[in-house]
């Protein structure tokens, strides 16, 4: 299981009376095996939402929980993929992926079986002995995704994972993530500021307001995707041409534009 719940969650950085209010009254439930994307203007606190689920930050108000258990600390049941990859530079690709499994005391034969399977799935087999700095950004992010997925986590947290990649690599990674997510569905919380990415990947998209961040609107993409049969198209550009896709994208754009405008007003 992996139900993420935000209940009246607020976050203030600094002292309660004069600190920076990052989040206010966040109420959001991410269902089991659902792919939820959060989009919002920069500085709206979307990454803070993810960091609270990861256990890196405490909520100042309210409760963040997974399957009803309030989150206290980070753990392998909630694997994180960071924007800057955060691979261990002194560990090979194989050893980077191995660390989490070792922490879970998985037997060594089981570990090598699982690592080989995930390397194969992410097209990384020939890079097992490479070190992160010998790989391109896209490859490094594949390793980071493999490191998270190999733990078979209930919840996968992705913090603008493709934000540091170039446009072409980004598209390839998005397609692969769709393939991976459809094959091994997990509860995914995906933070991004790229609207198209959110619509292409997610079952639902939550739009946040500018700081103090609140949930402005939650859009159901999955029902449109299934009704219009997006998954029959293999390439991202074919999906992006569909009228139903354009419609959703434009809707989110407008909503974000309003926030941007209000921010500058």
């Amino acid at each position: 299981m992996g139900v993420i719940q935000f209940k009246d969650v607020g976050k203030i950085f600094g002292p309660r009376d004069k600190g920076f209010v990052a989040l206010k009254d966040i109420d959001l439930e991410i269902r089991d095996k659902e792919f939820m994307a959060i989009v919002g203007p920069s500085g709206c606190g979307k990454t803070t939402c993810l960091r609270m689920v990861a256990g890196f930050e405490d909520a100042t108000d309210g409760v963040v929980s997974v399957d009803g258990t309030p989150i206290k600390r980070p753990g392998p049941d909630r694997a994180v993929v960071f924007q800057q990859f955060a691979l261990f530079p002194w560990k090979s690709v194989y050893d980077n992926i191995d660390l989490g499994l070792r922490n879970l005391n998985v037997s060594s034969s089981e570990r090598s079986k699982r690592i080989e399977a995930i390397l194969n799935l992410m097209n990384l087999t020939q890079y097992a002995k490479h070190f992160p700095h010998q790989l391109s950004g896209g490859m490094q992010q594949r390793v980071a995704i493999a490191r998270a997925y190999v733990l078979d986590p209930d919840v996968l947290l992705m913090d603008e994972p493709f934000g540091a990649l170039d446009a072409q690599t980004r598209v390839v990674m998005q397609e692969e993530l769709v393939r991976l997510a459809r094959k091994n569905p997990r509860t995914v919380l995906f933070i991004t500021h790229a609207v198209e990415e959110a619509v292409y990947l997610a079952d639902r998209v939550a739009i946040m307001t500018r700081a103090p961040g609140q949930i402005k609107e939650v859009l159901d993409v999955a029902s449109v995707r299934n009704a219009e049969n997006w998954d029959s198209h293999e390439k991202i550009e074919d999906v992006m041409d569909l009228e139903s896709f354009v419609h959703l994208r434009t809707h989110i754009w407008r909503s974000l534009r309003e926030e941007k405008a209000a921010q500058h007003a």
């Binding site: 980070p74 261990f88 002194w90 660390l99 700095h133």
Partner: protein, 261 residues
Amino acid sequence: MNRQISLLQSVALGFLGLACFLGFWQGMSMSGIVSNIFLPSPLEVYERFTTLIERRFAGATLPGHLAASFMRFAYGFLLAALIGIPLGLLMGWYQLLDEIVSPLFDALRFVAPIAWVPFAALWFGTGIGGPIMIIFAGAFPPCVINAYRGAKFVDPRLIEAANMLGTPSRRVIMEVLLPSSVPSIISGLRVSAGLGWQSLVGAELIVASAGVGYMMVQGQANIQTHTVMAGMVAIGLVGLALDSALRGAERVIQKRRGLEQ
């Protein structure tokens, strides 16, 4: 604007500086302004140096004295590294330990190694123990400080990554903190080796058998200033070699990580 200086140029400039220095020194002693006892000439020192390599003085040849000194240094330095690096890392990781140890450590590290001479002799004797303690006193602080800095300045995202992978503390220290601190630790070891080697003469003031410092003390007692100078040259050369070796190690490690071409 800073122009790029090639390796060849940099070596040539280094030699130029050395040549000027030696020329000035030779000129001073040849001019007769200062007496030879006051300032032996470079040639004299060179001759004395080569003689000392073959002939015994104060019980041993220069290589013999150097070997004795190096043994003491190696013990003191290794002891400093073995205690200092883990202590520094743990101080960087556990704030409580940091708060307890830091003030004491910061006060003690300003006491010059040579100030420990009386107590080193008293506590550990003038054989092997005392000198080792003095070298340890010189070499210890940089080991602690640099391991501590390395641990403090580890990329917080790597700690977060380790935490979300469920890594227990002991393993975070060994597999994240330590390897991440290696560059800082190595530069600490360089400083530490330098200070340890510098403390040598002080350490050997209290030994009565062999060692470069001992040789120099004997040279002084016999009014052989060129022997003292030859000892200084030997200390300088060994120090230089030590530093180059550690610098080489530093570069190899950086390269393996892809941090430097």
